[in-house]
Symmetry: none
């Protein structure tokens, strides 16, 4: 494989002032183009460090991508470090100079000291950023391309996508993009996945697979240079995990539920206690959700459960607000009030304090469909936010599994 | 200075599948604690690479922080690589084993192969993550602390803040932290902040200040080695931005609103259309929210606005569901139904499609208090998610400003 290193330069990154997104953008773009990123390194604005890193990296990789340290200010040291490390004289770059002068003249602007500095590059450099009013250049050294891109993310991205990718393709024409699939799972733990998946990895040595927890989901990423392998392995994995796989790619759980509801012409309403509106929020993240989502009731207090949903006071007195019968009345109540086909209700303890009917994480989820009302009890673990999220996802997943059956 | 390296392990990072935020979090936390981060490196799930990086880094730095590659799946290789690189036998860690077994037994879950793998650590390892239901351990090697933390960001952050920082302080007691304050602003733009703040930066040359957009908030971070400077500068900034500063540190806007409601003994209910439950979700993120939040109505359809909140059909016909009178009826309706002091209502277009009464981002927010009902019109910009968030925050902020006045 043709592999490279990404090197991010900037004190602000090491000091935790700025989140570096450039290495992610470069890695994503070049991986999709079929190149391999072997390492990502972030270092400070220090000439000696830059020089050492450059000299060490050249023999190890097929290409290098630097970002940052190219601006006109005193703390930008990349150009001089590169020239010294590679023993190239610094000189005015004719292309950069004429282009910059032309651009400034058209705008009626003066050629200033800062502009002058931008045209001084190591001998042999090819300017990359000039069309974007930005810095950036390329050098070929020991037959390997070295790209030096600005640190400003939108400038970097533009030069990367419009210049670097095609340039790399020209230099390494045999590189082809990999095929990729992302499968999204819910209702199964990473350890359970691990138990089941090892056989598939043995069957397909060409397949690269990673499992990524995306709370509360788990994503399985399959990558391979062979389209056939991808299709066959994906099919096997789907047969293995069945309805634990709820979607592919960028599809979210609410989107999947929305699609099923629309297809079957069913309408939904929600009655939420501990989630406080999170289920409604997730559902209404789907554009066009008004076509299947009628309304929701956030019945946080007992009085609201009684007034809005018609849960009998006697039920709450006898069984508690967090109980099977209350969840049942809530689900049936919201279905009736909203004149919908499916009523989803959740009640439980999100924490941090436990309630009279159980510890933190005790949750009842009720789903009332045209035929039957089903209530399940769960014991979730985690923070208040995690318990709310687990409850919301589990509720949506109950609807999905019902609509699939 | 006491300096360290951050090493992120994970193919998903190099492949551009996941944006690494762990190195930023570690850098930020340790910089604030007075430590220096010399490099950040991201490498793949490759045993040989992990071993080489570890062996090279130990002599160069005072501490090392690894994240990732500790999970129970086949692609997690950190533990074995560490054991081999440092020539330490792998053995079952008694502390990790007993804790994990206990936790699983409590949950009525089985001890699987994946769990078993989590308890196998290099000899001498001290488990760090076990209290957080996570992996993670520490080793002392050549008198230097090496921390191996899970890659899952929220687990990593928790262990970092609650275990690693204090441990490093114990090992390097002469390192002193800078004083720091975070001010949280809402309802003012970054350029407006910039305009006003430059004078303060001139007055306090010892002060380091950064403004970080945290959509939809903006955070101003003040840092200085001098406590007095911090207090004086913070006071000046508070006088400058007044009620645009809603909180400090980790205080969220819903927490501030909650505190004001509780202090004044007032109860709240919400009626949400375009936000679909997001406001209720944000409010119920505050522990103990049942003390002031009665209920919410997610009246997504017109029928629900009529049935649940008593908005007259004639009003919706004449003015539309996204209008000043509808927002007014919604706010007053939910206040009445829920028997509360403040009713908050939002109606508008989150997008992507515009509605009959205006473009995407047209939002009316109504607040009905014991004395008066106020409705404001907004024109927000952004994605569906951003418009929902801006609406929710603006609604909560209206309550905050009302309670402060």
């Amino acid at each position: 494989m043709v592999s490279g290193e990404i090197i991010i330069i900037g004190d602000e990154i090491l000091e935790g002032e700025v989140l570096d997104t450039n290495s992610f953008d470069v890695a994503k773009t070049l991986s999709e183009a079929g190149f391999c990123i072997a390492r990502m390194l972030a270092i400070g604005d220090n000439e000696d460090v830059i020089k050492n890193v450059l000299k060490e990296a050249i023999p190890q990789y097929d290409f290098l991508i630097f970002t940052g340290g190219l601006g006109p200010t005193w703390d930008d040291k990349t150009v001089r470090a590169v020239a010294e490390a590679l023993d190239l004289p610094l000189e005015q770059n004719a292309e950069a100079y004429s282009h910059l002068q032309e651009t400034l003249a058209k705008q009626g602007k003066n050629f200033l000291g800062g502009h002058q500095k931008m045209t001084i590059l190591p001998r042999g450099a090819k300017p990359l950023g000039i069309a974007y009013r930005a810095c950036g250049f390329k050098l070929i050294y020991q037959n390997k391309p070295l790209y030096f891109l600005p640190g400003v993310p939108h400038q970097m991205r533009q030069i990367l996508k419009e210049k670097v990718v095609s340039d790399l393709r020209g230099i390494y024409p045999h590189v082809t993009a990999w095929y990729k699939k992302k499968l999204r799972l819910f209702g199964i733990s990473e350890s359970q996945i691990q138990e089941k998946i090892s056989l598939i990895l043995e069957t397909y040595p060409q397949l690269k697979m990673s499992s990524l927890p995306h709370f509360p989901e788990i994503h399985l990423i399959l990558r391979t240079p062979n389209k056939n392998t991808l299709e066959r392995a994906a099919l096997e994995i789907k047969n293995l995990f069945k309805e634990n796989i709820f979607g592919e790619g960028d599809q979210t759980l609410p989107e999947v539920v929305a699609k099923l509801l629309l297809k079957q012409g069913l309408k939904l309403a929600t009655a939420e206690s501990l989630t406080g509106g999170l289920i409604g929020h997730l559902i209404t993240q789907v554009p066009g959700s008004s076509d299947f989502f009628e309304q929701g009731a956030i019945t946080y207090s007992n009085q609201a459960k009684i007034d809005v949903l018609g849960v009998p006071l006697a039920i709450i007195r006898e069984h508690g607000a967090v109980s099977e019968p209350t969840a049942r009345y809530m689900a049936e109540g919201i279905k009736k009030i909203a004149h919908v086909d499916i009523g989803l209700a959740v009640t439980g303890y999100a924490g941090p304090t436990a309630g009279p009917e159980g510890p933190v994480g005790t949750v009842f989820i009720g789903m009332s469909t045209p035929k039957v009302t089903e209530v399940k009890k769960f014991q979730f673990e985690g923070s208040r936010t995690e318990i709310k999220l687990l409850t919301a996802f589990t509720g949506l997943d109950m609807i999905r599994r019902y609509l699939l059956s």
